[in-house]
């Protein structure tokens, strides 16, 4: 698959010295109830406690409980934003239905797969990959230790194979099973048995030691990060309807909001959620809802109300496979079009896309700040990958973005809610303030807020709402721009990590390229984008959807320079660094 140059670079990047690796990919699979996710979570926590970075993606079938499950992990000595192209280690607690993950868990000849031969055989695709196969009767071993489970054997095995210290693993196991009575010593014995078995496999790849004196680190999901970013930005009211994969964001916010004097209401549907947050924000309280594609579709009418009535709100869309019910628990970047275009009428909105788990915090906080400052709706385009991935990250730097709404002072003579101002933003009266009462309206209105169907008022108010966004200085946060060269990779969201990794590989081969990861999708910063792309001869637009929604949007607003190519495929498979790297290699040879 990889060209000679590519392979060398790939190895250079991963190998620190001899068998030591800066990054190792581990997958633990099993049928539902086998405990693959528990083992994966404990492995990640142990790695975090011992000083490494890493992340874990959950992949499972459509069953609520049961069905097949895979914990997809990558542990590294440095902060990472995505999974590796290939997995170094696959541990199958049983082989039942593992073939369903064959597209997601890629193995190659350097991989090791450990499975329980008593629990089936590896699927053909893995046999053909050339990965080395080791049999370990995990179920039998667990049975021999009264009160233990095969997933604890798998946990010990994984830790042993990649060189995680036993103490770190045992500390995590003890912490989560401290109330489990006899199960704790049994589990610890099973972990030991797994570690012992690992030593016998002769597998020699090891994680390089973690960097000493690491910065303060968090173990957090993108959904939690977005929730915390919202609270830091000033959100004190949330209304929402449960939906995969956004629910955890709301479950984190419910107690957190109560602790800071805010409130979360579980609404009867998404139509109610968005109208509730509009009501709360009209009352002066910064407000947010979180949803996924189906919910965003239902919310579009009220998003238009927030545009027209100029009520700041934030909608976090944790994207999943679409259209319709689609693939609820798996990632796809296919809500770009609805986010940037999905409303009737001319309805300027803000669309912000975080580009890492950590950025889910900062970008959401920024979105609250923008919505409040510009009195407009802001959509945060996160995705299932970020939302449900647990990652070890450096504590994000504090940013000062906080809701700053321009409010009308009491008893303002001749107050006009929708006055035409230089910036387009006009002071908003907050209920309770005397002498500035007004009616917020989704009907077109004049400056006072009185409904008007006249051409002059319509034109003036449309221009006002457009100007608010087009005149605003969004600052350096509009994109992350890295590298130099006459090739540019333009992308956003969860494709950013793989793109960054591909560019690092290319750079080590002397291919000079730049990365433009757009954080602000709307309003598109065409002037800044022109600057970022000045002098490029080729542009590669990378996105995870079928139709090239980002590319079409960019082209609709901006003349991309040079020769433009699209690298895309739909979810749930992530865009891998290798795919991007291959394109860069091909161009470098052309």
């Amino acid at each position: 698959m990889l060209g000679a140059g590519g392979k060398e670079a790939f190895v250079t990047e991963k190998t620190v010295s001899g068998s030591e690796r800066a990054s190792i990919g581990v997958a633990i699979t099993g049928s539902g109830g086998a405990g693959a996710m528990t083992a994966g979570n404990m492995l990640l926590e142990a790695a975090a406690k011992a000083g490494w970075y890493g992340l874990m993606v959950r992949s499972s079938g459509p069953q609520i409980r049961g069905g097949e499950a895979a914990a997809l992990l990558r542990i590294a000595t440095y902060p990472i934003d995505g999974l590796a192209d290939h997995f170094d280690v696959l541990i199958a607690i049983d082989w039942e239905n593992v073939h369903r993950f064959a597209d997601e868990i890629l193995l190659d000849a350097s991989s090791l797969m450990v499975g329980d031969a008593n629990q089936g055989e590896p699927p053909d695709v893995y046999v053909k990959s050339g990965a080395r196969k080791v049999n370990l009767p995990m179920k039998q071993m667990a049975k021999a230790i009264r009160g233990s489970w095969p997933n604890m054997i798998a946990l010990g095995l994984a830790a042993g194979l990649i060189g995680l210290p036993a103490e770190a693993v045992k500390k995590v196991v003890s912490g989560s099973l401290k109330k489990a009575g006899d199960a704790l010593p049994a589990s610890l014995a099973a972990v030991d048995a797994g570690i012992e078995a690992a030593a016998k496999t002769g597998y020699d790849a090891r994680l390089a030691p973690p960097a000493a004196g690491a910065a303060p680190r968090w173990l957090i999901s993108g959904n939690q990060a977005a929730g915390y970013g919202a609270v830091r930005g000033g959100v004190r009211f949330v209304a929402a309807y449960p939906i995969t994969p956004a629910t955890e964001l709301l479950e984190w916010m419910a107690p957190a909001l109560a602790e800071v004097g805010g409130a979360l209401v579980q609404a009867e549907d998404e139509l109610a959620s968005i109208n509730m947050i509009i009501g709360a924000s009209y009352g002066g309280v910064p407000a947010l809802t979180a949803t996924s594609g189906p919910g965003l579709s239902l919310m579009t009418e009220a998003l238009g109300l927030a545009c027209a009535a100029e009520v700041p709100i934030v909608v976090v869309d944790v994207m999943r496979g679409g259209p319709s019910t689609g693939i609820p628990a798996k990632s796809e970047q296919s809500d770009v079009s609805i986010a940037v275009n999905g409303m009737h009428g001319d309805a300027p909105r803000i669309v912000v896309a975080p580009n890492s788990v950590a950025d889910c915090l900062t970008a959401t906080q920024w979105a609250v700040h923008l919505a409040e400052s510009l009195q407009a709706p802001a959509i945060v385009l996160s995705d299932q990958f970020f939302g449900q991935t647990r990652a070890v990250i450096n504590r994000p730097a504090d940013v000062s973005f906080a809701g700053q709404r321009l409010v009308a002072p009491a008893q303002t003579e001749g107050y006009q809610r929708y006055a035409i101002t230089e910036s387009g933003v006009s002071p908003m009266a907050i209920p309770g303030t005397p002498g500035v009462v007004y009616t917020a309206d989704g009907l077109e209105h004049n400056e006072r807020g009185i409904p008007s169907s006249g051409a002059r008022d319509h034109g003036a108010q449309l221009a006002k709402r457009e100007k608010k966004l087009s005149l605003h200085d969004f600052g350096a946060q509009w994109a992350d721009i890295e590298g130099e060269g006459d090739i540019a990779v333009v992308t956003f969201g969860s494709c950013t990590g793989p793109a960054r990794e591909a560019l690092a590989r290319a750079a080590s081969e002397g291919i000079r390229a730049r990365l433009v990861s757009l954080r602000l999708l709307a309003p598109l910063q065409t002037g800044r984008l022109a600057g970022a792309l000045a002098g490029v001869k080729r542009v590669l637009v990378v996105e995870q959807n079928q139709g090239g929604q980002l590319l079409k949007y960019l082209r609709s607003e901006f003349d991309l320079p040079g020769k433009v190519a699209s690298l895309r495929h739909p979810g749930p498979l992530p865009i891998r660094a290798d795919e991007i790297h291959q394109q860069l290699l091909q161009w470098s040879r052309a």
């Binding site: 609270v231 109560a258 109208n275 709360a280 924000s281 917020a440």
Partner: protein
């Protein structure tokens, strides 16, 4: 959350709660009287305009907010209760009243009606019912008689009419009343009583549409004060409502449910305390 400044002492009249904006309603529309009942109720309760929020959706009746001198919100069709719920939960210090119609409230907004009754947020919900979509020029609504002929549903819908008061009772509304637009004083008193009663209060206001349902002019001859006193027994109230002819006016049910309250947490000293759960 914002705190309202202390109100000035002067007593306000109903007229002080009216704006200078001229209603778009047809001459003779029942909604003129309902507007006047709103402002009378606000004056009766000695409210301040800046502390009252009038929330609505879309339809003839939903035009009321801008005709008052209070804070108003004219949102999208069917979602007034959702907007009002968000506002009241976020700003419990405000007095929130909702204006809706039989299309806005019972058809497109039907689901929110059920859940607003269940949730029991301290709101007053008024529905001006004229058994027709007036703003779109005469289509049948959920309360329209099944044989009422129209261009959109020739020969009638054939559908059973919606019984809002019984549904409100079944869904848990804490206060249920029927009023008649032709009696602005009586309606003002019922609205004031609803606003005084904690929790979700629902008032079905018979408000004739003289343009598309001119026969509703006869309602003034058909309405009568309910022959019974209000009850706190929902089953008894439901039986009465199921058996009356729809023209008994007055407060029919008042319960004792505690209004919705957002759960309070243990207050954290600093926002950064919320981070503790993330630290490795």
């Amino acid at each position: 959350m914002t705190t309202a400044p202390a109100p000035a002492a002067a007593t306000l009249t109903a007229q002080d709660f009216k704006s200078d904006y001229k209603p778009i309603w047809c001459p003779g529309c029942g909604d003129f009287s309902v507007l006047s009942s709103f402002t009378r109720a606000f004056a009766m309760l000695a409210l301040r305009p800046e502390n009252v929020a009038v929330i609505s959706g879309i339809g003839c009746s939903s035009r009321i907010p801008a005709y008052t001198n209070c804070y108003g919100f004219h949102g999208v069709h069917g979602r007034s209760l959702a907007a009002a719920t968000g506002l009241k939960v976020a700003r419990p210090d405000l007095t929130v009243i909702v204006a809706s119609g039989d299309g806005d409230g019972y058809s497109i907004g039907g689901n929110h009606f059920l859940h607003a009754c269940r949730r029991n947020v301290d709101l007053t919900y008024t529905v001006m019912d004229n058994h027709v979509y007036g703003m779109t020029k005469g289509q049948p609504s959920p309360t329209t008689e099944p044989d009422w002929d129209s261009k959109l549903s020739p020969g009638g819908t054939g559908l059973r009419t919606f019984h809002p008061l019984v549904i409100a009772l079944a869904a848990g509304a804490n206060f249920v009343a029927r009023a008649f637009a032709g009696d602005p004083n009586g309606t003002a008193e019922i609205i004031a009583e609803a606003m005084r009663t904690p929790g979700f209060s629902f008032i079905e206001i018979l408000s004739p549409c003289v343009t598309f349902r001119p026969e509703q002019r006869e309602w003034k001859k058909m309405v009568r004060p309910a022959p019974v006193k209000e009850t706190d027994d929902a089953a008894r109230a439901a039986r009465r409502l199921m058996t009356d002819d729809g023209f008994n006016i007055g407060i029919l049910y008042r319960g004792h449910r505690k209004p919705y309250q957002a759960p309070a947490g243990k207050a954290v000293k600093r926002l950064a305390d919320l981070e503790k759960g993330f630290v490795v």
